[in-house]
Assembly symmetry: C2
Homo-oligomer: 202 residues x 2
């Protein structure tokens, strides 16, 4: 117990919880808490109700693993989406990033991570069985493996490709290449070599 | 209206509000929101109730301007504090910083900002009248002006010194010098000159 209490235990608890939010540390959590309690009507109360509402309503989609307030999620029930195109991602954050890119009118499948033998994450820990089930149900013409270009991501991609080899479904992956706006001088050799191999007509 | 809704409006609202928290931007707010909704029991619900509790209970101390859940605040009612020593700070964050330093067993007075003629902040916008009242009530032997070492902070310090000149109270300010752990090579000339002028016996 500290001998000097600066503020009430409610504020201390708020600071401790805020420090667990990614992007905030112990120091910035204190700044944020002070900012919030000074703006009770504009920020603190709206955040309290937004948090409570999200805690009450947020569901994990039982079909694809997306986070939404309905189950199945908005994307899974959207009639305008192409049932024949399934994009496989590691995490919901990747799904959101692809949706912001807005390039494909597809459905998704969230794995919930990547295979990682060293961390004890085997195929049973990921939503791979669900993916195989969806493909086995038929109607999926193409599965795009939009996993990260990391060792674990690529291992997972290979494993999934094996699992889907028995089905009449094309399995593709994202192109490697120079990021839009990227400068060659700052790119690693692997990316440059991949970009050269996959060069396209100008 | 966007044609593609990724997640429910509750999550979008959560992201928008989180983006207003200092230390978080639009991108990190999205990451934070996802992190929170995936940890409903450990983070989202506790944060919701912590926010609601803070919104309900937090008060601004009518004596010193501190933020607390009681009014007068814990520091103002602490019987072990020295009534004769008053530390004047710009903001509650400065008060918390000084309390963490734990060097003085004093009481505080929060101005709520600094004089800034260019921004239209005159003495009436700050809690200076309250400070003069507290000093006029008697018993305050020393007022330490712990304002920032900025132009506005020093202007405010001079103004307050003028206002308190009629009372039998010593007005002091924080020492300038080399920060503990600081390297001379990285310090500005003003700080070095001040540190030399205020050198002490070794």
């Amino acid at each position: 117990m500290s001998t000097k209490r600066i503020a009430g235990p409610e504020i201390e608890r708020l600071i401790q919880l805020l420090a667990k939010v990614p992007g905030l540390g112990p120091r910035s959590a204190r700044r944020a808490a002070l900012h919030l309690v000074k703006r009770r009507d504009q920020l603190l109360e709206p955040l309290a109700s937004a948090f409570a509402e999200a805690a009450e309503k947020v569901r994990i989609c039982s079909v694809c693993g997306n986070v939404d307030t309905v189950d199945p999620c908005t994307i899974c029930t959207d009639p305008r989406r192409d049932d024949g195109l399934l994009i496989v991602v590691e995490d919901v954050g990747d799904l959101w990033a692809l949706e912001r890119a807005g390039a494909m009118n597809a459905r998704y499948h969230v794995l919930g991570g990547t295979l990682s033998p060293l961390d004890g994450i085997g195929p049973d820990k990921l939503n791979i069985a669900g993916l195989v089930e969806r493909v086995a149900a038929g109607g999926v013409g193409e599965v795009i493996l939009a996993v990260n270009a990391t060792v674990d991501g690529q291992t997972t991609a290979h494993y999934i490709t094996d699992q889907l080899s028995g089905f009449d479904t094309r399995v593709t992956r994202l192109a490697h290449g120079v990021p839009v706006g990227g400068e060659l001088d700052y790119l690693d050799e692997g990316t440059l070599a991949a970009a050269l191999r996959s060069r396209t007509a100008f």
